[in-house]
Symmetry: C2
Subunit: 302 residues, 2 copies
């Protein structure tokens, strides 16, 4: 019951109205694996530079995260800098230095080619396809993408979508990919492209799941303090797929619970800068917040 | 177990990307009472002009809506015109003709001065205060307001808030009233102004209830076709308070169910122009959609 995840490992510089953090560990594969490892074994396929040291390695190695597929190349690790507006819902990219990521060729280690679940983080669809070709029969394949690929590499993205069970995107991306503003119609169009399920991430408004025949809506947890939204989407994906990896079947009940676990992990992620909160997070805190989600949303049937 | 509601009755001209309707029956008191009358007896206090005829009167009179408090004055009924953007989330006011509404002096009929629930629709806080003074000990007092009064008549609005149990506003209004962007903090500040409960309406993202010690989040119902969002907020309020009027106690369970009934009524309202859908709505359809909300949001506890 293990997960294979491909995506970025990065050093992020983040400015929010509440402070600033420089060169902190970030990237989709990082957030994803820290969340998923709360539930299951994760192995990541990614690339880092020579500036990625023992301290960073330890963050993963102390958990159920296998780094056999982490390539270390000459040069610097991918770096990203971003600044959030006062409301934290607008983000400006200050800089993007691809560095070793520019020539990244994902290579899945022999031992990890039969994962239970595969997560294709938000990278070039061509690289996502290369990973897809290297693995054998995962029980579930999930992918993330972004406007940049929807606009820039639509053909390659379509090829990825044909091989994917679950697509996770935000609402703007779902609208752009489908050409439909209405999310119900957008979901139908996207499901016709390949994915059996669509998960629409709506930030502070929560998540919508469009399954084959069901829909599920989960709110975001109302937090008094949101420090840094960076990584919340990948953390959500990690909690979502991590929980599913533990389940014997991906049925409607399991999917709904997985959405809540994803939302739970995401809600912790934003409580502090970078991965800080995820690094101290306990199983008990996760269970407590899951139950708080139940409290938040429960109402009696007629 | 009856509701007294004060607010506007209007003729609306609405343009959406899907069509146009001219001089159709609208106004906060109209939408509110059509929704609330699905559950309980409603009497409205409002003003109309000489252009308000038997056809309009019949829309109310055919239901559990008492028009004793509806004043008919010389002149024309309040008219509003608005145009929605392609996405339906941006609205431009094309014109506002106050007409008889300009000199409206609400007068609660003798027989309706002891309502079970009082709803103060979005009108000048001074008029809301005048209605408050004319009624005796309602079990629950709810009010709506808008940015225009938050900015223009803050002192009078504060006086209203001191006498109110539930405030219903949208998220932008909650933020402006409290001066806090974070909704959890905004709710705390607003509750310190008087209301025991705050209901934050978030349009396509649903509703957040901040009760004394509880929070409840409900999504909006995902609809494939949204025709005309006009009146959805007042329709929500009508369903919410209408259901509560039927309940012996306003406890946490009843409040949550009332939020879902409000959301249910609101989801029907937007399916057609103006009040059309509300006029044909049956009890069975309401119950079915309430159950669909349960399906949409339910997940198993741990």
């Amino acid at each position: 019951m293990a997960i294979l995840a491909v995506g970025s490992v990065a050093f992020d510089t983040v400015r929010t109205p509440f402070g600033r953090a420089d060169d902190i560990l970030g990237g989709a594969a990082t957030y994803f694996s820290l969340a998923a490892a709360q539930f299951t074994d994760v192995s990541i396929v990614a690339v880092v530079g020579q500036d990625f040291g023992e301290r960073e390695r330890k963050v993963f190695a102390d958990r159920r995260i296998d780094l056999t597929g982490l390539q270390q190349s000459k040069g610097k690790t991918f770096r990203w800098g971003g600044e959030y507006s006062y409301e934290l819902n607008d983000r400006t990219t200050l800089f993007t230095e691809l560095n070793v990521f520019e020539s990244f060729q994902p290579k899945v280690p022999e031992a990890h080619r039969r994962p239970d679940i595969l997560f294709l983080g938000n990278i070039h669809p061509r690289l996502q396809l290369e990973v897809l070709r290297q693995v054998e029969k995962p029980r579930l394949i999930a992918a993330d993408t972004m406007n940049y690929w929807i606009e820039g590499t639509p053909k390659e993205l379509r090829a990825v979508l044909e091989g994917v069970d679950v697509l996770l995107v935000n609402d703007a991306e779902a609208r752009e990919l489908s050409g439909e503003f209405n999310l119900v119609r957008a979901a139908e169009k996207i499901k016709a492209m390949g994915p059996k399920m669509l998960v629409v991430k709506r930030g502070e408004y929560g998540v919508l799941l469009f399954n084959e025949h069901h829909r599920f809506a989960a709110p975001a947890y109302p937090l008094e303090t949101v420090f840094d939204p960076t990584g919340a989407g990948d953390t959500f994906a990690g909690g979502f797929l991590g929980y599913l990896a533990q389940q014997s079947s991906v049925d409607n009940d399991a999917l709904r619970q997985a959405i809540i676990f994803g939302s739970t992990l995401g809600s912790f992620c934003v409580e502090d800068f970078g991965t800080r909160r995820l690094e101290t997070l306990t199983r008990e805190e996760i269970v407590d917040r899951y139950r708080a989600f139940k409290q938040l949303t429960h109402f009696e049937d007629l």
